[in-house]
Each structure stands twice: as structure tokens, then as C-alpha cells.
């Protein structure tokens, strides 16, 4: 599997670069640890005053926090470094150098820069999910697999939106910080949609699909899978991936024909 070998090679290179900066490693490990601890502490603080949030009890909330942390971790270590680099490539004119390589361009820009040491959040997130599941005695392989599958779908949607926004760099060099939107999204996703006022729930389910990205996988982990939601989300993920790919190739063709 050539793609797999390439990904491993990119990972290895990124790791080597990261190891040059020891202080960075330490700092990102600490950040992951502290942010994880603080998230859990916030939850405990809230649950000291109330028994449930939007109908979700503590173990379900911990699972939700876990899902959020996994996704945030993946954003930090994968999505942000890779896709944000696209604007830089376009600005510095390095995109051409990438395009002449005999590797699919989308693959290249998507996996070239992975900051593996920010994956600490991912590990902590998995631990949180496992804990939550254990607390409710729903820790089965099936539930876990489903949860990861749905996280994958959520990431696919985030990835596609992010890629599409980054592709805009072909036309507007000052695309700005798309990442802001992603991070704000994730911050709202730490709580179940049902915890928000009625008027906000619609927006958070259909407009900013936070309900799907964080809530659904968390529910799946706890054995409370919402089948229609999951099916909808998987379809959305497939569509998003297709659109992202299409838009990337479209942008690329316009770019190549425009540059002299």
C-alpha cells in the first residue's frame, strides 16, 4: 500500500523535525495533559452543582469531552498544520514544487505536515471515552468501533470544509484564519446540543453540524446510537469528501492555467 508507506514516511520526517525542538515536545505534552485535566475538572465542577447537563449524566459527558479531545487533537496535529500550509504554499509559490511530484496533490498537502506530538489530546480523549463507557458498563468493542467510525466521519466533514476553505487560497491569498471557525466549533461541541436553548439547537445541528461531529459519536460509544443521525452523518461525510476533492481539483486546474 503505497499511500500507507508514504504516510508513514511523512510521519517519520515530521517526528524527526519535532525532535529537534525538545522544548516544543515537552510543552505540547504538558498542554495536552493540562487541557485534559482542566476539561475534566470543569465537568466535575459543574456536576458538583447539578446532576445532568441537557439530560446527559456525568459518564456520558466524559465520553463527550473525550470525543471533543480526540477531534481537537486531530485538528492540532493533522488538520491545522497540513491545511494551513496551503495558503503559505500558494503565497510563496511553493505549490508548484509539490505539484510536479508524482503523488496525488491532495494527498500531498493533506499529509505532509503532521505534528505528531500534538496527538497527546487524542490519547487522553480515548482514555476519557473508555472511562465513561466503563462507568456505565457499556464498554464493548462494537460500541467503540462505531464511535471511532463516526468520529472518522466527523473528521471527514471538518477536513473537507477546511480543505475547501484553504482551496480558496488559490483566488484570495488573504484567506485568513479558517482555523478560528474550527476551534470555535469545537468549543461549542463540548456540550450536548440538548443543553443549549431551543433556538440554538437547530443551528447547531444543521448549520454548524456540531451535533453530528461530537454528540453522535459520544452517544454511539455509550450504546445509545441515534441511527438516523448516524446514517445522515455518514452520508454527509461521503458527500463532503467528494465535494472537497472536486473543489480541490477544480481550484488546481484554475491555478495551473492561471500561473505563467
Amino acid at each position: 500500500m503505497r499511500s500507507l508507506r508514504l504516510i508513514l514516511l511523512f510521519l517519520r520526517n515530521s517526528l524527526q523535525v519535532e525532535m529537534e525542538y525538545r522544548a516544543n515536545l515537552l510543552a505540547s505534552l504538558l498542554t495536552a495533559l493540562f487541557s485534559g485535566a482542566l476539561s475534566i475538572l470543569t465537568l466535575l465542577g459543574i456536576f458538583g452543582r447539578t446532576a445532568e447537563i441537557g439530560g446527559w449524566d456525568l459518564p456520558r459527558m466524559i465520553a463527550l469531552v473525550g470525543v471533543s479531545m480526540i477531534i481537537e487533537g486531530l485538528i492540532d496535529c493533522w488538520l491545522y498544520p497540513s491545511l494551513n500550509a496551503i495558503t503559505e504554499y500558494v503565497r510563496q509559490g511553493e505549490l508548484d514544487l509539490l505539484l510536479i511530484r508524482p503523488i496525488n496533490s491532495q494527498f500531498m498537502v493533506s499529509f505532509r505536515n503532521i505534528r505528531i506530538w500534538f496527538a497527546g489530546n487524542v490519547v487522553l480523549g480515548i482514555l476519557a471515552i473508555l472511562y465513561g463507557m466503563q462507568a456505565q458498563h457499556v464498554l464493548t468493542f462494537g460500541h467503540l468501533a462505531l464511535c471511532f467510525l463516526l468520529i472518522g466521519a466527523g473528521i471527514a466533514i471538518l477536513y473537507s470544509i477546511w480543505l475547501a476553505a484553504a482551496t480558496l487560497a488559490f483566488w484570495f491569498t488573504k484567506v485568513g484564519e479558517v482555523s478560528i471557525i474550527a476551534y470555535t466549533l469545537m468549543e461549542t461541541g463540548r456540550f450536548p446540543v440538548s443543553a443549549y436553548p431551543a433556538w440554538a439547537r437547530f443551528a447547531l445541528t444543521y448549520v454548524l453540524p456540531i451535533a453530528f461531529i461530537t454528540n453522535v459519536p459520544a452517544e454511539a460509544a455509550m450504546g445509545r446510537l441515534n441511527w438516523p443521525g448516524a446514517a445522515l452523518g455518514l452520508c454527509a461525510a461521503a458527500i463532503a469528501l467528494a465535494f472537497g476533492n472536486f473543489f480541490w481539483r477544480f481550484g488546481l486546474s484554475r491555478y495551473s492555467s492561471a500561473s505563467s
Binding site: R22, A27, L38, T184, E187
Partner: protein, 273 residues
């Protein structure tokens, strides 16, 4: 002689602010986008307002009803937007890429330029900031609960809050003299501030022992204190004590920054310059 020096300093400050407001103007579109990232307090506010729908939540001798949560977190929104900081980024780049060098050649403390840069940005953001703030209060039916006195004192406390946060960020940024990873510490500052300062949960709702410790930390002076003022939950001696804590932290952090700066300059390598 001293008078002349002060006048000169004031003139420099005025020109710096003029300059950096102009610079921030050129970035106004990006600023508007970046402001989207400061919406977390509003999301948290919605959560707490819902939680308090069935009744006020109490702790440490006081209670918060839904209106209290609304006011408190709108205050948090304002504080967060007004204390937007990127000194860590500036210093990391300045120190490790030598971009600090031109500032060092000027007969003016470089920190003045960094402060002015941030203040210029706040000036540009002010319209949207205040707009959202007032709108939030109107929509949650809480605008009427503010008094002129409280609002004025709140604004005053924002000065201390800004200075505290600025110096914390600056000290972390100065670590770039010794390590390459200063930038990765930046998110940590925010986590600490939000959790320990009452940005996600009002400090009053923490267990008593923890709460008492937290009120002495700079984070609470930055976030919780202004919130309490706006809520009119603090007055008299406690109010004065709160301001005293702010001033104390500002002085302490400013001295710390000076020490780190001097030590760091010795190691500055002006690389890449």
C-alpha cells in the same frame, strides 16, 4: 528635566497609538474573522442559562440565577475580546528570527511598541465588541440590571485585567530567549486563565477551599473580578481589595517581566538579522 522626559514619553505614546491604530485598520477584515473565535463565552453562557432555567444555582453563600449567568458571561466575552493577546507570537518571532533587532536600536523600550500594537487592535475591535455586548444583554433581558457606577467600575477593572494578561503573555513570550517552544505554551495560558479565573464556571461555584485560593491568583483578578463588579455582587471593602489585588499583580508581573527581559537580552543572538 523629568518633566521634559515625561512629555517626550507622552508624545511617543501618542504617535505609537496613531501608528498602530492605522495598522490595525488595514487588518480590520481579519480582525472581524478572528473575533468569531471569541464566542465561546456566549456558548457557555447559553449552557448555564439553560441549567439555571429550573432555578438559581448557589454556592459559597451566593446564588446565580439565569440573569446573573447572562451578565457574568457577557462580561467574560467582553474581557476575552478586550484582552486578545499575541505577544508570545511577536516575541517568539522577534527573538528567534531577529526581528526584535530594529526595536532594540531605538532609544525607546520595545515593550511600548508591543503594548501600542495591542491597544491599536482593541480600538478597531471596540465597535463590534460593544455592539455584541449590548446586544447580548438586551437579548437576555439584563441590560436594565446594570448601573452607571457598576459599568464605570467594570471598565476600570478592565484596565487592570488587560495589564495582567499582557504581562503574563509577555513573560511567557520572553521564554523564547531560552527555548524554541514558547509558542506552544500559549494555549496553556488561556486554559489556565479560563478555568482558574472563572471563565467557564464562576469561581463562586467551586468548592469553598478551592475558591478561596483562586481569588488570590492573577486569573481571578482578570476575569472573575470584573464579572463580579458588573453583577453588583461586590462592594465596599471587597471592591477595594479586588482593585488592590489587581494593582499588586500588575506590579509583580511587571517586575518579573523586567527581570526576564534583562536576563534574556544577554542571550539574544539576533540570528537571521
Amino acid at each position: 528635566m523629568k518633566g521634559a522626559r515625561l512629555l517626550h514619553a507622552m508624545r511617543i505614546w501618542r504617535q505609537l497609538l496613531v501608528q498602530y491604530c492605522a495598522v490595525a485598520m488595514t487588518y480590520r477584515v481579519q480582525s472581524a474573522i478572528w473575533m468569531l473565535g471569541g464566542l465561546m463565552p456566549i456558548a457557555i453562557m447559553l449552557i448555564w442559562v439553560e441549567l439555571a432555567a429550573k432555578g438559581p444555582i448557589s454556592g459559597n453563600g451566593t446564588s446565580y440565577d439565569r440573569h446573573d449567568f447572562a451578565i457574568y458571561f457577557m462580561a467574560m466575552y467582553l474581557v476575552r475580546q478586550a484582552t486578545v493577546m499575541w505577544s508570545v507570537l511577536i516575541l517568539d518571532r522577534g527573538i528567534r528570527r531577529g526581528e526584535l533587532a530594529p526595536l532594540l536600536l531605538r532609544p525607546m523600550p520595545p515593550i511600548w511598541a508591543h503594548m501600542a500594537e495591542h491597544l491599536g487592535e482593541i480600538v478597531i475591535r471596540l465597535p463590534i465588541l460593544l455592539g455584541v455586548f449590548v446586544l447580548g444583554l438586551v437579548l437576555t433581558d439584563t441590560l436594565g440590571q446594570l448601573t452607571v457606577a457598576n459599568t464605570a467600575l467594570f471598565a476600570l477593572s478592565l484596565v487592570g485585567a488587560w495589564l495582567i494578561f499582557f504581562f503574563i503573555h509577555y513573560c511567557v513570550g520572553l521564554l523564547a530567549f531560552w527555548m524554541e517552544g514558547a509558542l506552544s505554551l500559549e494555549p496553556l495560558i488561556w486554559y489556565f486563565s479560563v478555568i482558574l479565573g472563572g471563565g467557564a464556571i464562576p469561581i463562586d461555584l467551586f468548592p469553598a477551599v478551592i475558591r478561596d485560593i483562586l481569588t488570590w491568583l492573577p486569573f481571578a483578578a482578570m476575569l472573575d473580578f470584573p464579572g463580579q463588579i458588573l453583577l453588583a455582587k461586590i462592594g465596599g471593602a471587597a471592591l477595594l481589595l479586588g482593585f488592590a489585588k489587581q494593582i499588586g499583580w500588575v506590579i509583580a508581573l511587571s517586575l518579573l517581566r523586567q527581570k526576564i527581559w534583562r536576563a534574556g537580552l544577554k542571550r539574544f543572538s539576533a540570528v537571521g538579522a
